[in-house]
């Protein structure tokens, strides 16, 4: 939302997508920033990309490692290429660093994307965020919901009214406010639409492994 402190939201949005090299079911991979602050947000995320530069997993200085396998590496690089071919621009990254065998991909921000592009519609599962502008709440709710998925969403704003209205409109099993990816075992976790059936964690998650039996005894 236009009122965010970009100094916090930029790194926050970067963490939402680059943590675990984007291999997270709730990764913040589709970003919508208000037109009035779009360029600053992209700058903020791009600036944070250095923090997430990929390193071997046992390097104590690293915050992000390689992707899990060569298949995943090929899949993610394939999506980046598809995005470029479809007309997206690379704000940062979009390539793999040199290495002698690991499956590293640089943190990537794609802009000038269109909703129908594969990089927007499909789950890349890598350190790639696609960013679009929006101007009003109803419009961004529609854009956010323009997906067959609905596991996690994040809203960054100090406006409590906008926060709660948007949280009610977004079709997602978890909605985060001014944070991302906070998963606590006490709260149910699961998805809308194709993002899953039922909920894990909390009481509901344990009850999912049980069955009810009604017993009716005439006295």
């Amino acid at each position: 939302m236009p009122d965010v402190d970009v100094a916090t939201a930029g790194p926050g949005a970067a963490g939402a997508i680059f943590f675990n090299a984007g291999q997270v079911c709730v990764a913040g991979s589709r970003l919508y920033a208000h037109s009035s602050i779009f360029d600053q947000v992209i700058e903020g995320i791009s600036g944070a990309a250095q923090f997430w530069a990929p390193r071997p997993s046992l390097d104590p200085e690293g915050h992000m490692g390689p992707l899990v396998s060569s298949e995943q590496f090929d899949r993610v690089m394939g999506y980046i290429d598809a995005g470029k071919k479809a007309g997206a621009s690379v704000a940062v990254g979009g390539d793999a660093p040199g290495s002698d065998g690991g499956y590293y991909v640089n943190p990537t921000v794609l802009v000038n994307v269109k909703p129908e592009m594969s990089v927007v519609q499909e789950e890349i599962f890598g350190p790639v965020v696609v960013a679009q502008r929006f101007d009003d709440l109803d419009e961004v709710a529609k854009s956010a919901n323009d997906s067959c998925f609905g596991l996690g969403a994040g809203i960054w704003t100090k406006d409590i009214s906008a926060m709660h209205k948007l949280a009610a409109k977004i079709k997602s099993g978890t909605v985060w406010g001014n944070c991302h990816g906070v998963i606590d075992p006490a709260l149910p976790f699961g998805g809308f639409k194709q993002s899953g059936l039922g909920r894990e964690q909390a009481r509901q998650g344990v009850e999912a492994y049980t069955e009810l039996k009604s017993v009716i005894i005439m006295l």
């Binding site: 943590f19 046992l58 390097d59 915050h63 992000m64 660093p97 690991g102 009810l212």
Partner: protein
């Protein structure tokens, strides 16, 4: 970006403990014992930070899956786990969580070698998350229950009616590779708390921490066959269930749980 800050992309040396874990003979954990697979096939373990093979896993055959399911089925049906006082199950789960904590550094390193995530991230997020999840979910074992409901159509005092809540039976747990130990615990802990037995299938890309967890299961005193591990299926997850013959299905079908 890596031109500006010269980062060495060489994977660092493994600890002696990790080297020992990687050198283990490939085996399956069924009925609280390490056993060979029926066909002796193995799968590679690759460290994604280097692209190199660092270990091998037992590849469970269809026959192995069948015996894992049969073991879990027998363990459920004879009540050795599900009939325990709930507080006993709860205490065992707390002990298992504590054991993970005692081996936290080892788990973090194995996760980093198997999945590629930084060891520091595994140590800060995955391992504590798994421990917390196991402790939290353990508490539900002694607090699950049904309820007493009056029928709406019968005169008061003529009928005693209530709803029981019972474990479904054997749970098939399929786990992804992005948070291997954390996702395994996410699935194991509610199944255990509910009184179910299980067959756990870790992702073939990342089975190391699930195998290490199997050692701790035996140590935590879980009754035999309360959990089984079948790492690295050669066949895709969907076919695990199609190989279960109809005769082993109970009248109340066991509902398999799929990966999140």
């Amino acid at each position: 970006m890596n031109e500006m800050t010269k980062i060495s992309m060489q994977q660092r040396e493994y600890s002696e403990g990790a080297k020992k874990a990687l050198a283990r003979a490939p085996a399956l954990f069924i009925n609280n014992e390490w056993v060979n697979s029926t066909h002796g096939a193995t799968l590679e373990v690759i460290d994604p930070s280097s692209g190199k093979e660092v270990s091998r896993l037992a590849d469970a055959s269809d026959a192995d899956v069948d015996r894992a399911v049969a073991a879990a089925r027998a363990a459920f049906d004879d009540g050795r786990w599900s009939d325990l006082p709930p507080i006993v199950r709860e205490t065992m789960m707390h002990k298992l969580a504590d054991l993970i904590g005692q081996h936290a550094d080892e788990f973090a390193e194995l996760e980093a070698i198997d999945n590629g995530k930084p060891k520091g991230m595994a140590a800060a997020i995955d391992i504590p998350g798994a421990i917390g999840m196991m402790h939290y979910t353990a508490g539900w074992a002694s607090k699950l229950g049904g309820e007493m409901i009056e029928p709406m159509s019968m005169p008061r005092g003529t009928v005693h009616s209530y709803v029981r809540r019972e474990p479904v039976g054997v749970a098939a747990l399929i786990v992804p590779w992005n948070f291997p130990l954390l996702m395994a615990v996410l699935k194991i802990s509610p199944a255990l708390a509910a009184g179910c037995t299980m067959v756990l299938k870790p992702a073939e890309q990342t089975s190391l921490t699930a195998l290490r967890l199997a050692d701790l299961v035996a140590e935590a005193g879980s009754p035999p066959a309360s959990s089984t591990s079948s790492p690295a299926m050669a066949t895709p997850p969907g076919t695990v269930w199609s190989s279960i013959p109809m005769s082993t299905r109970s009248p109340s079908p066991d509902r398999p749980r799929s990966a999140s």
